[in-house]
């Protein structure tokens, strides 16, 4: 094509007019196509990285045992490996007899060596979760047949080979097969007891606490309203004392039940031998998941993989968020985003309606429009600061003064919460909605408005019955953009309500069901927290990708829902224009 073009420019064969590359517009084709390709490449690359890293996190890998030249043994899962150039100091640290061999091994590879990061777990014994193991340190590598991976509620993973299953301190199974069978048989009932215990701990104790707190607030309120020592305050104090005594009795009852459950569970233990040869007793109640990594077939691996995903999306986090699930964060993200959409859409649509339908064009309207567009360029952290200052400290503090005076000085609405976060993000995304809605309104043909006016409709009737329905798909587009922008925003949320850990969901079964004042967890903030605030950063890193994948999936789901809704609306209004 380009050869023909350059020939045509000089040769002028036959009657063909001279052609240049410019006449074909080919450079522009390449330029525009190249732009698109680059953009696609970056997006696809980013997504591919997130998907690759995120989906692999939960896949169970083999447990490898290395016997080291030093005589020690380590066991665990290989997290990653890399080639590196060992410094001279590394060799100097080795004993005399190994140094020569290590040096020659490295020299044969051109000064490089392979090292792998081994997830060794057993934090309470070694004080570390991961350990680098270099090629030249290894004497032998084995895949122990019965190496078990324990995922525990505390202190991370544990790797070891089973020795015995203990009930009440005495062994009831001694071979690995029997121990494994016993674990499978008992873990169900132990887990059920643990769940019951957790239910008692959170729900039941929480309910009693709530009643106690309410009684305390009534007493405090009476003291504030009528003064200390007033008869009303005395009555309230007596009522509180009564509630307190009942509550204390209930607490004792619940604690007794918890203790009974704990004792029942405590009798089940597993005796495990670590790679270093230590024998450790693990309580079965502390274990979330256990599997013999090297004996799993494909089906077994898939089962572990799926069960980890299920835990991830449905459970609460543990181990400073680096293990367990992110359900509160998913819930917080979705509730906050939906709340934000509910707040921003009516606001934005009303504002756009005034600007486009009612306001007379002029300098003021143009200025307002430019200001709105500029608002979209304000850094989001500024919105966060504004939200904290205005919503939390001014509005929230006043709400507290008026309605929650008895709880003061503990703030109720006077601090970050899901309502303030949603309002802050609504402000942040307002320009998007206004601009999209204005464009949608402008695209409604004037002939339709005239037709409506000619029928004797008022301005508002025309807007409500003709203009708004017709502009609805465009308004939905604005909402989709707002959702995409709002759901992925983190910086302002850190100031107005997103927290590291908030086990109390903003929507639950205790009255008034929706707790607008509660702080919440957010996937975006969770990613930041995992990636930069985690103590066990190596274990948290894969979780960063998994959480990112989940956040992208949630935003995509929200968007696709809105796109589907918009498509339905479009079909209704755009069937065919003759």
């Amino acid at each position: 094509m380009s050869a023909a073009a350059s020939n045509g420019g000089r040769g002028r064969r036959g009657n063909r007019p001279s052609r240049t590359i410019r006449a074909y517009g080919e450079p522009m084709l390449w330029l525009t196509g190249g732009g698109l390709a680059t953009a696609l490449l970056m997006i696809v690359g980013l997504l591919a990285l997130v998907v690759y890293q995120g989906t692999g996190t939960f896949w169970p890998t083999a447990v490898v045992k290395y016997e080291l030249e030093t005589g020690n043994s380590v066991m665990g899962e290989v997290a990653r490996q890399e080639r590196f150039q060992p410094a001279a100091s590394v060799f100097e640290a080795l004993p005399e007899d190994q140094r020569g061999r290590a040096l020659s091994s490295v020299a044969s590879q051109g000064g490089y060596s392979l090292r792998r990061m081994l997830r060794t777990g057993n934090f309470e014994l070694t004080g570390e979760h991961f350990k680098w193991v270099s090629d030249f340190e290894i004497k032998a590598e084995t895949l122990p047949d019965w190496a078990l991976v324990f995922e525990r509620r505390r202190q991370g993973r544990f790797y070891g080979e089973p020795l015995a299953f203990l009930v009440g301190g005495s062994a009831v199974a001694e071979t690995p097969e029997d121990v494994w069978k016993k674990i499978r048989d008992t873990e169900g009932e132990v887990r059920a007891r643990w769940k019951e215990r957790r239910g008692l701990e959170t729900d039941d104790i929480g309910a009693v606490n709530l009643r106690l707190e309410e009684a305390r607030l009534r007493q405090h309120g009476a003291e504030v309203a009528y003064g200390l020592g007033s008869p009303q305050a005395a009555i309230a104090a007596a009522a509180f004392a009564e509630v307190e005594s009942v509550a204390t009795a209930e607490f004792d009852g619940i604690r007794a039940r918890i203790q009974a459950l704990d004792e029942q569970n405590a009798s089940f233990q597993i005796l495990v031998r670590t790679a270093a040869g230590q024998s450790i007793k693990l309580a079965l109640a502390d274990i979330v998941r256990v599997y013999p990594a090297n004996r799993l077939g494909l089906a077994g691996k898939v089962a572990v993989y799926l069960s980890r995903w299920a835990e991830f999306v449905s459970d609460e986090p543990r181990e400073a968020n680096s293990e367990g699930g992110v359900f509160p964060a998913i819930f917080g993200t979705v509730v906050m985003t939906l709340l934000m959409s509910l707040l921003v859409t009516p606001f934005g649509v009303l504002a756009a309606l005034y600007l486009r339908e009612y306001a007379r064009g002029g300098v003021v309207v143009s200025t307002v429009r430019i200001a709105i567009n500029n608002l979209a360029g304000v850094p989001s952290i500024v919105f966060g600061v504004f939200g904290l200052g205005f919503f939390c400290y001014i509005i929230g503090a006043n709400v507290d003064q008026l309605f929650y005076a008895s709880k003061l000085p503990t703030p109720t609405f006077g601090t970050g919460g899901i309502l303030w976060a949603a309002l802050t993000l609504a402000l942040l995304t307002l320009p998007v909605v206004i601009v999209a809605t204005e464009e949608a309104l402008a695209a409604v043909p004037g002939s339709m408005r005239e037709g409506s006016y000619a029928c004797g409709a008022s301005k508002w009737q025309t807007i409500r019955r003709i203009v708004l329905p017709r502009a609805m798909p465009g308004i939905m587009t604005g909402m989709i953009l707002a959702i995409a922008r709002g759901a992925g925003e983190v910086a302002p949320l850190m100031l107005v309500g997103a927290v590291k850990l908030a086990p109390n969901l903003p929507l639950d079964s205790t009255a008034p069901y929706f707790h607008a004042e509660r702080s919440f967890m957010h996937l975006g903030f969770h990613i930041y927290d995992l990636g930069f605030q985690s103590q066990n950063s190596e274990a948290a890193k894969p979780m960063v990708f998994t959480t990112t994948l989940l956040l992208i999936a949630i935003i995509a789901t929200l968007n696709l829902t809105a796109v589907w809704l918009r498509g339905r609306l479009r079909r209704r209004f755009m069937t065919s224009q003759f």
Binding site: E450, S452, A454, A457, S458, I466, F578
Partner: protein, 310 residues
């Protein structure tokens, strides 16, 4: 704008020679006869042009009276002292070259021009004797007494049924029986019932262009208006659809007072009882359609209707 004026002016001069050479018997019979060049050139200069109104109109009962109506879009004047009487129950056609103010005049009758920014008017219009432009008039109530059909079919993005009953819906009518009855009556009136009765709940945008225009007519007559305003209702339609609309106008005549703007001379002569010829914002001649097309009083009118200019 200035060049447009100049072109029109030269057109007018072209006809002046025409008028000078051939004096017709019709011209001789009418005492107020003027040459074509006089009125058109005067209109082009922006002077007031006296309308040549035929005597036939004096006998008609007025549905709409227009008195010395002027209209400005910002600084430029679009209508110059238009005075005319729209006879009740008859079809009146507005003809004239593009930009002569036909549509502006039509849209002034139901005050649709109020929506355009910077519009000023002087003079008055009366609907059945009551002023249209009086400050005490409720524009919305006024528009409910008129139906309007536009150049391009503009059905609303809703079902056929809802389109037809729209004027009643905005009045708050909820009675299903009334709505059903109006829907059927209007669709029958617009000759669309047989085609649409089985698909009343489907989107109006799925109809063909001709059907959409008839739907708009059904919508315009749904509220039983006194006057039906039609702004080139057939210009976006094919000849067959145009024929159906013209038949429909024939049927609606008598029941409604119809004011129709058209570019099509044949259409004006076929469908209307009276014809008004406008030029550059002035009403030049106004009379019975047969008279206007066969024995117009003014040379300018004759030139226009016979296709010699415009």
């Amino acid at each position: 704008m200035a060049t447009a004026h100049a072109n029109m002016l030269s057109n007018g001069r072209g006809m002046m020679s025409d008028a000078a050479t051939g004096k017709t018997s019709a011209d001789a019979a009418v005492p107020a006869s003027r040459s074509a060049a006089d009125s058109l050139a005067a209109a082009a200069r922006g002077e007031r042009v006296a309308t040549e109104t035929h005597l036939a109109l004096a006998a008609e009962e007025a549905a709409v009276e227009i008195d010395d109506f002027c209209l400005w879009y910002g600084a430029s004047q679009a209508l110059y002292d238009v005075s005319m009487v729209i006879p009740r129950g008859k079809v009146t056609a507005l003809i004239g070259p593009s930009g002569c103010g036909k549509s502006t005049l039509l849209r002034s009758v139901n005050r649709l021009n109020d929506l355009v920014e910077g519009v000023r008017i002087s003079g008055d219009m009366k609907l059945s004797g009551a002023s249209i432009y009086d400050s005490s008039i409720d524009v919305i109530e006024l528009r409910k007494r008129m139906g309007m059909v536009f150049q391009k079919p503009n059905p609303f993005p809703m079902s056929i049924y809802e389109n037809v009953v729209y004027p009643l819906r905005i009045d708050g009518e909820r009675d299903r029986r009334v709505l059903d009855e109006v829907c059927e009556r209007s669709l029958r009136g617009a000759a669309l019932w047989d085609e649409a009765k089985d698909r009343l709940t489907t989107s109006a945008l799925g109809l063909s262009g001709g059907q959409q225009q008839r739907l708009c007519i059904a919508r315009a007559i749904a509220a039983d208006p006194e006057v039906l305003l039609m702004d080139e209702p057939c210009s976006a339609l094919d000849p067959i659809a145009t024929g159906r609309i013209e038949d429909l106008i024939e049927e609606l005549k008598g029941e409604y007072t119809i004011l129709i703007v058209t570019h099509n001379m044949q259409q004006a002569s076929r469908t209307s009882d009276f014809t008004a010829f406008m030029y550059l914002g002035s009403l030049i001649e106004y009379g019975g359609t047969y008279e206007m097309f066969s024995r117009p009083h003014l040379k300018a009118t004759e030139a226009y209707v016979s296709g010699r200019f415009g």
